[in-house]
């Protein structure tokens, strides 16, 4: 009689355990299947939200109406093609926005983030199209000198020829070009050297060009073809012969 009672209680406990363990195992099984899916859904949702915000910005952008909008475009507009299209409208911004933003963009040329430097420079390029930019020319040159002290931005491919064509021999700019020329990691180092030589003929860039070839700088093959402009022809030919078949 007492045994029956214990058996029944034991069975009751077993049933509870079976239910709890069964539930737990079932749950673990589902979680294993659902886990990766949930992670993927969360990632996709975030990606979609970012894209929706970009699309909305693209759809509603109708020029730079405020300082905040300029900052927002610098920080949030992607891809680069869309940013470029919107940046082209900066020279048409209202006076209030234009004159408030240009000094801030010049300051941004010294920003630690290379993308911000690049975007500020692109906006300033467009701003220069406007006659309203004249009063900022001197500050712009100081800003460019600071820009040249930082690691290169993509915009250097247009900035460097512009400095050369305009004949800007400001000491700060020349120091910046020298700093770029001496950076082994900088793909624009040879171009900075050529521009430096063009702006200040007293600077001999040949040793640095030779050094970059020896160090197999990323542009060393292109440098080989430019050597005759910066050293005697015989020496340039000798270096060309020495390195042309190098792999």
């Amino acid at each position: 009689m007492i045994g029956n009672r214990y058996i029944l209680r034991g069975l009751a406990v077993v049933l509870l355990l079976v239910l709890a363990i069964g539930w737990g195992m079932d749950r673990i099984g589902w979680q294993r299947s659902l886990g990766p899916l949930e992670t993927e859904v969360t990632a996709k949702r975030q990606e979609l939200d970012v894209l929706q915000a970009r699309m909305h910005q693209k759809e509603t952008f109708d020029g730079f109406d405020s300082v905040e909008e300029v900052f927002s475009v610098i920080e949030n507009t992607y891809p680069e093609r869309v940013f470029e299209r919107q940046a082209q409208q900066f020279d048409a911004a209202d006076d209030a926005v234009f004159h408030a933003m240009v000094p801030q963009l010049i300051d941004m040329l010294d920003h630690n983030d290379p993308e911000k430097r690049q975007r500020a420079w692109r906006l300033l390029q467009n701003a220069r199209e406007s006659p309203r930019f004249e009063r900022y020319e001197a500050d712009y040159l100081s800003g460019l000198a600071k820009l040249l002290q930082h690691h290169s931005i993509v915009g250097f491919n247009k900035l460097l020829p512009w400095l050369r064509d305009e004949g800007i021999d400001n000491q700060e700019i020349l120091a910046g070009l020298h700093s770029r020329m001496m950076d082994d990691e900088d793909p624009f180092a040879p171009y900075a050297a050529y521009v430096l030589a063009a702006l200040d003929p007293s600077v001999d860039i040949a040793p640095r060009l030779e050094e970059m070839i020896e160090q197999k700088h990323s542009q060393w093959r292109a440098i080989l073809h430019r050597l005759p402009g910066y050293m005697p022809q015989e020496k340039a030919d000798a270096l060309f012969e020495q390195y042309q078949d190098y792999r």
Binding site: R5, L16, S33, E38, L48, R54, K58
Partner: protein, 321 residues
């Protein structure tokens, strides 16, 4: 346990409070497990679908942002006339109209211009002259409206189209002054529902929709058109009946047009989010996206869906100019 049971040596189960609590606990566990199981099973079937839908939207948005091709199914939203498109914009200087006869003479002069395009700008001139009616005084307006209604029977499709368009604008922007012309206008527009030019028919159906319940006499013809799967105007006819007949709902017919890929189903799909609850529209478009086997259609539904979600994310901001 009773004394008799104890004497007989048999143990008898007694259902007390403890057992009741036990069984409640067991039932709770079983129900909890079942609920958890069903939820997980539901998630397992829902999440892959959600991922497919999001992948389509990501692909669409990426292409849209990059400014790449929007696919081969183009938007037909331009067929829908919006009130703000009908009235002259703020830059247009409306000349004062002295009489209905002056308007008639100007319009007749434009009609006589038979030069070929691109030298012929009669459509634009016709529209600009008609714009004068938007701000003309009552004594000029009233005799001029029957003149324009008469142009609905003109042999040139351009004249019929521009007149229908102007009358639509007047119904929306000068409704009180148009009131006395509604019966004649409704009859004239009903005839235009059989116009050889589909654009005139689409415009006419939309004017009848804007007139609303007072255009009841057009309902029979609109019903015929709405029921025809091969008629481009069916979707606009359904929308017009919806406005005329309170018993009729356009949503099921528009959904039918989309599901059977009937004529102008693209516009029906794009317009559904405008007349359905956003959550219902979202669900409907997701289902269509999942059901279609044609990639271009999937891309098209994803485009509408992402547009709808964007409107929900940024409800109060202006749309692209």
């Amino acid at each position: 346990m009773s004394e008799a049971d104890q004497r007989s040596g048999r143990w008898k189960f007694q259902f007390g409070l403890g057992w009741a609590a036990y069984w409640v606990l067991v039932c709770g566990l079983v129900l909890g497990w079942y609920r958890d199981h069903m939820q997980a099973a539901n998630d397992l079937s829902r999440l892959p679908t959600e991922i497919v839908v999001m992948n389509q939207q990501i692909a669409v948005l990426t292409r849209q942002i990059e400014g790449l091709s929007q696919g081969t199914i183009y938007s037909r939203m331009s067929q829908r006339v919006r009130p703000e498109h009908l009235a002259p914009n703020a830059n247009y200087k409306v000349h004062s109209l002295e009489s209905a006869d002056q308007l008639r003479q100007s319009l007749e002069r434009i009609r006589k211009d038979t030069r070929p395009l691109p030298f012929n700008h009669s459509e634009v001139f016709f529209r600009l002259h008609l714009f004068q009616l938007y701000k003309s005084p009552e004594e000029v307006f009233q005799p001029a409206v029957p003149l324009v209604i008469g142009y609905l029977e003109a042999p040139e499709a351009m004249v019929r189209r521009e007149s229908t368009r102007l009358l639509h604008g007047l119904v929306l922007h000068r409704r009180i002054h148009m009131q006395q012309h509604i019966p004649v206008l409704t009859d004239a527009l009903t005839r235009r529902l059989s116009d050889p030019d589909d654009r005139v028919r689409i415009e006419a159906a939309q004017v009848l929709e804007s007139i609303g319940v007072e255009a009841g006499s057009a309902a029979a013809r609109l019903n015929e058109i709405a029921a025809d799967d091969d008629d481009e105007v069916a979707v606009f006819a359904a929308l017009a009946i919806d406005a005329i007949d309170p018993q009729y709902h356009a949503v099921p017919r528009l959904q039918e047009l989309v599901e059977t890929r009937a004529a102008n189903w693209e516009f029906a799909a794009e317009w559904l989010p405008e007349i359905m609850l956003p959550s219902d529209a979202e669900q409907y478009l997701e289902t269509q996206l999942m059901q279609t086997k044609i990639p271009e259609e999937g891309y098209f539904f994803a485009r509408i869906l992402s547009q709808l979600k964007r409107r929900q994310m940024f409800p109060d901001e202006k749309e692209a100019p």
